[in-house]
Every structure is written in C-alpha cells, then in structure tokens.
Symmetry: C2
Subunit: 189 residues, 2 copies
C-alpha cells in the first residue's frame, strides 16, 4: 500500500503569504478565497486540502500575526513598561488589518475565525512580568487585575485610533503619552 504524500509545504506558505499580504492591502473584508488562490497560482480546493477552508486559512494568518506580535513584545521587554506600550502601538499601527483581525474580528462578529486558544498568551506574558516587577509586594490577583487595566488602556487607545475614531480635540500621540505617563506614575509609586 502507499504512504500518504505530505502536504506541500511551499504551497502552504505561498498561500499564507499571499493571504496575509492581500489582507494587509485590501482589508480582511474584501479578500475572497478565489482571489487568494488565483494570486497564489492555484485553485480554491488547494485551500481546502491544506487548511480546511477559508476560516482555517484566516486563523493561520492570524496565528502568524500573534507570533510576530509576541516577538515584538518580547523584544521590547527589556525596556520596561513604557517600551512595551510603545512597541504595542507601533506594531498595531504597522499591521492595522492584522491587529483588527486579532482583536476586533470577533468583536464585529464578522469573521468566522478566532485565534487558536492560547495564541495570545505569549503576547501578554512580557506585560505580566513587567507589572509583577513594578508591584513587588502585590498579590497575584492585584497583579492580574493591573495587567487587565494596562492592557485595556493600551488596546483601547490603539483600537480607537485604528478605527479612525473622531479624536475631537486631541491627538492620539498626546493621549497615548498621557496614558503611558499615568500608568508609569500609578505603578512606579
């Protein structure tokens, strides 16, 4: 009997890359499976063989995004809380479509894909460590709550900026500076 042929890894990567670049260029909304397959020089059924469907392909793109995001956070970890915050915003502004998929997709209820459980954890691990270092005597619950507060603050400002929210009267730069300053003050005390 015959042994099953392994999935073609180069085609898989090519599909992933063209999907990612097409999403980054046109937004996840208007990207069709057919256009991805055609741009990758294959047919739609290849996606079904290699991933299972459009949702799984998007999930794979999204997991790649989480990996890149986590790497960016870990690289900034040495600089402390403020560096983490600035790297967070920079990555999001550099990958707006990916960030939207990662954190806003299921919010809008539009994309039928959600990150693999646990995919986001390496991304916030550096933040956890930084908060724990800044609050030496705090309990685990206090630290965890503070992580939620800081993450919420940073994510909120970034996602409002990305949606093109009005920003009536302020600049996102200034608001972000003020938020980071306030976080530093309330944690550094």
């Amino acid at each position: 009997m015959a042994r099953p042929l392994l999935h073609d890894e180069t085609l898989r990567r090519r599909l992933l890359d063209t999907a990612a670049s097409r999403i980054a260029h046109d937004g996840a909304a208007s990207v069709s499976l057919r256009s991805i397959a055609a741009a990758a020089g294959t047919s739609t059924t290849a996606v079904y063989s290699l991933f299972g469907g459009k949702a799984e392909l998007l999930t794979a793109v999204l997991d790649d995004g989480f990996a890149s995001f986590a790497a960016s956070q870990q690289q900034a970890a040495a600089g402390g809380l403020e560096a983490l915050g600035r790297a967070y915003r920079r990555w999001a502004l550099d990958h707006p479509a990916l960030y939207g998929l990662m954190f806003g997709g299921s919010l809008a209820g539009q994309v039928p894909c959600q990150p693999t459980p646990g995919a986001a954890e390496p991304s916030i691990a550096p933040l956890f460590a930084a908060v724990a270092a800044a609050l030496p005597g705090a309990s685990d619950d206090e630290i965890a709550s503070m992580v939620g507060v800081v993450w919420g603050q940073v994510h909120g400002l970034v996602s409002l900026e990305l949606t093109g929210a009005p920003a009536a009267g302020w600049s996102w730069d200034a608001a972000y500076d003020a938020a980071l300053g306030q976080i530093g003050r309330s944690l550094g005390r």
Copy 2:
C-alpha cells in the same frame, strides 16, 4: 404631473427594527439582506428604495445605536465620572452586537458601513463635561487628552471583554473596578 409618494415610514421602521433585532440575535456578520427583507414581509428592493443598499441600512441601525448610547450616557451624567463608566459598560454588555458594529466594525474591516460623521459626538459629550469639571484649572488640550485616555481605558476593557479575550487570571469586574478607581484617583487629586 404627479407628486412623488413619500417613503412609507412604517415600512422603513419595520425594516430598521427587524434588522436591529436580527443583528442583536445572530451578529452582524451572518445577517443577510434577504432574510431581513423576508422577516419584514417585503422584498430586497424595498431596502434599496428606502435606504439605498445594505450598507446604508446598517448605517441607519448603527446611528440608532449611537442615539441610544448617547441617551444612556446623558442619563448617567449626573452621577459623575464613575457613573458614566459604569453606564458605558452596562450599555455595551446589553448591546454587544451594536457596540461591535459601532466601534469595531470598521476595525475588522468587514462591514462597509461607518457611522455618520458626528454621530458619536453626543456620546462622549458627557465625558468631556465630567473631565472638565474634575480638572478645573486644566487647559483645553489637557482636558482633551484626558478624555482620550479615559475613553480609551473604558473602551479597551469593554471591547476586550466583549471579544471574549482570555482574561487569564483576572475577572473583568475586578479589572473594571480597578480602572475606574485609578481614573477617579488620578482625576480627583
């Protein structure tokens, strides 16, 4: 010559209401124009006559949502900053699909509708007033930045909670309490 017949207002409202309830029930993603029209007892072309298309119908639903949200905020304005924050979260948790459309739809790049310019302003006006009252001597820029910070904090926590983000180790209740407490402390000082 004949005078044009005014648009049928009852059909317009029925379409708006069934669209809103269907969005609240199934999420904005999986709601089709055909299903809305059928549930309203009419045909898809009625939507084109009355609104112009699906995007405009969604925009109308979304503007209704902003009106309801602004009313909720204005009602809570008397209670100060903390009441505003709690009303913000309560409204969002009560209308998750609408909140996602209002603030996360364009983030995900999935919904081709965006709020009418200026529709969000009445919603944050009470927050503006409360921040200005809490910082009597502050400049306009400082007040505006602070509004951005507070809005970002509240929106970030609420939207993370709505996306079903991991919340590894903390409860959203506790994080929200901590955030509101911190806002009160940094503004009340």
